[in-house]
């Protein structure tokens, strides 16, 4: 609809412009005729008085081609008079004696007018074709550079920039309406700064444009908007520029606002056309952005849903079973004190102890993971000896478990800058996992070696079932538990490796799992961190 409006506007806008051009053309055609008359006067002795009307014809045609039909007609008429006045007997009067001369004069006039008509028509068509070509080229250029922009948040600024370059608007602004708020989605050139009252005014006019669904600022439908703007600003206001409401299928999504024209005046038809066409582009882009935002939100919701499910199943199983065990043991101890012999009492106490440890570990893992992922637990980096880290981890294990771990530390292991506590958490998770999932009684090997002078490598190998290819990524995901272990007696929460990965990533390191002949092998690569002081 905006386009239909604009087509009507083009004709009306064209008028004042062409009037100016015509005046110039008139002057030129008069000058040309005067010049030709002067030349012919000088050469009057050599000219055939009867044929001479033909001599003016090229001048008139040239005027028609250059300045259009009306100036050519004036030129033809003036030529007619000049010829009569200067060259036909009696000279210096408009009286014509000879009937033949009358005839040749009339023929000249008719011929001049007809040919100028044809010539000027041809010129108009050529002009129109050129204008159309220009327009198409500009639009093509604009849309080409737009389609080259891949990132959505760059398209609108780039579109605004195109408009500033191609039209003579001082600035171009795209306002995005979200509910009743107006956001500036793009404003070009970026050097434009606006005082708050002007921004407020722009928002107000945008509101008017949207409410009435009217293009504001084009000369074509001035009738529709002039009064509204006059009411808003008072009768003698500065030029407001152009406001084009942006439609999508969901309704108005915003306004494209082109600032006033550089050097004042109103926009040319081509510029208006361009602004209106690119406004349609902008509307499409905004619609697309809104769709993309909706899709992203839906995806986030879905992920949150999956996580919630995983957490729920974790809570229902991993939290409830230790709680149940504690509850049963505690009730037994309290209620039937006398009936329990010493062995059973010990067993119940041990169960409470072990299960509450398990709960504590689970809760602190959950908290650690969420703090890491929220960026609230930044590594406190200091120089760390990885051997020391592993030794500390082993020191905290039960001696019988710790004895199953063999540490091979390279002599030239570099110190790395890392958070001792966090790296210890990685090592303890890897080692405890290895102890838990390996074939009972086998040895766990922890290998510590330098890595290309830029880091340190920690490898934990155990003997047991390999990790299948598809699971090699997934086991580092939150709440993921290996298929083989999902229903097994080995307890796990699917948090340990996720925690490891979060810590290693925070240290700009890499963690991955491969399979050796005997079983899985977890590798952590940590950069030295800072250049040694």
């Amino acid at each position: 609809m905006a386009v239909v409006d604009s087509v009507e506007q083009i004709g009306k806008v064209a008028e004042p412009r062409s009037r100016r051009v015509e005046a110039v053309g008139l002057m030129w055609s008069l000058t040309a005729v005067a010049l030709a008359t002067f030349c012919f006067w000088c050469l009057r002795n050599y000219l055939d008085k009867g044929q001479a009307s033909l001599l003016y014809l090229p001048v008139v045609i040239a005027c028609a081609v250059r300045f259009g039909f009306s100036s050519a007609v004036v030129g033809a008429f003036v030529s007619f008079l000049c010829w009569d006045f200067f060259f036909l007997q009696p000279v210096f009067t408009f009286v014509v004696d000879d009937v033949r001369n009358w005839l040749s004069l009339i023929v000249f006039l008719i011929a001049a007018i007809v040919t100028s008509r044809l010539a000027s028509q041809a010129k108009e068509q050529a002009d129109a074709a050129r204008a159309r070509e220009e327009e198409i080229r500009t639009l093509y250029k604009a849309s080409e550079s737009l389609s080259r922009e891949i990132r959505a948040d760059h398209i609108l600024p780039s579109l605004a920039e195109q408009l500033v370059n191609l039209s003579s608007a001082v600035y171009v602004m795209i306002l995005h309406r979200i509910d009743d708020r107006w956001d500036v989605a793009a404003c070009m050139p970026s050097s434009v700064t606006m005082p708050e009252p002007q921004k407020k005014l722009i928002r107000q006019i945008s509101q008017v444009a949207c409410e009435h669904d009217q293009v504001i600022g084009t000369s074509g439908n001035e009738f529709h908007w002039r009064r509204a703007i006059d009411d808003l600003l008072g009768p003698s206001h500065e030029p407001v520029g152009l406001y084009v409401p942006l439609h999508t299928e969901k309704g108005m999504v915003g306004v494209l606002h082109a600032g006033p024209r550089r050097g004042g005046g109103s926009f040319s038809a081509l510029e208006e056309q361009l602004i209106l066409t690119l406004s349609n582009h902008a509307a499409t882009v905004i619609a697309r952005q809104e769709l993309a935002a909706q899709a992203a939100q839906a995806a986030a919701l879905k992920e949150a849903d999956t996580l919630k499910d995983a957490l729920l199943s974790l809570v229902s199983h991993e939290l409830r079973s230790p709680l149940a065990a504690i509850k049963v043991s505690a009730s037994n101890l309290r209620g039937a004190d006398s009936k329990l012999d010493e062995g059973l009492r010990e067993e119940a106490l041990a169960a409470i102890d072990i299960e509450s440890d398990r709960l504590t570990r689970l809760v602190s893992n959950l908290l650690d993971l969420s703090r890491l992922e929220a960026g609230a637990w930044r590594p406190q980096k200091d120089w760390c000896d990885i051997t020391d880290v592993v030794a500390t981890v082993l020191d905290r294990l039960e001696p019988s478990q710790a004895d199953r771990v063999q540490v091979n530390a390279a002599v030239d292991l570099p110190l790395i800058r890392a958070d001792f506590v966090q790296i210890a958490l990685v090592a303890s998770n890897l080692i405890e996992n290895a102890l838990k999932y390996s074939t009972p009684g086998t040895t766990i090997t922890v290998t510590l070696s330098p890595f290309d002078k830029i880091g340190a490598l920690v490898r934990v190998d155990n003997i047991g079932e390999p990790v299948e290819g598809l699971e090699q990524q997934a086991i580092f995901d939150r709440f993921y538990r290996g298929k083989k272990h999902q229903n097994s007696t080995v307890h796990g929460t699917g948090l340990g490796l996720a925690l490891c990965r979060a810590i290693v990533i925070a240290h700009e390191g890499v963690i991955f799992v491969t399979n050796t002949k005997t079983g899985p092998s977890f590798t952590v690569r940590l950069p030295i961190g800072a250049v040694a002081k």
Partner: protein, 210 residues
Amino acid sequence: MGLVAQGYNVIVAERGDKALERFDAHSPALVILDVMMPGDLDGLDVCREIRTRGDVPIIILSARSGESQKVAALDLGADDYLTKPFGMDEMLARVRAALRRAPAGKAQEMTVFVAGDLNVDYLRRVVTKGGEEVKLTKIEYEILGYLTRNVDRVITHRQLLSAVWGPEYSEDTQLLRVHVGHLRQKIEDLPARPKLIVTEPAVGYRFRLS
């Protein structure tokens, strides 16, 4: 609760100012202090105040995220720390160790230190392991000497660096890691699994007797 069951007499204070009041009234043998205490005076302030009044052992309680506060309290002169959550056994062990150390206090003028087959002679500045002399550099000896004089006590990086190298080196943990590594190579049975000089993650070291 666990402490009372073990026969200790416990006085509880919920806030920093109350803690100091009761400290003055009862002169306890040991203070257990939560660094995250509510009130105008936090655990660190209380720790500093108590240190000005005497040499009573202080054990700090802190959350896992409170590393910096823990270190600050230890630097202020606290003796040991416990990270929440902890077991009652662990707490009792720390309390016993702190009380055992207390009577000797500053007057502890040992001439010889013995831990298993390790023997440190402070007068002759000689260290032997299993009867054989261990050649230590001056720095290594200083580290070992400082740790063994404060046996079973957490020594922060800053304390150790200031004591051995001087206060201007108190941030240079890289230096410390390297020398402690060398020292372990010489005195530990299994340098990769140290039993004597134990690392306290992100805090410092402790020379462990048991």
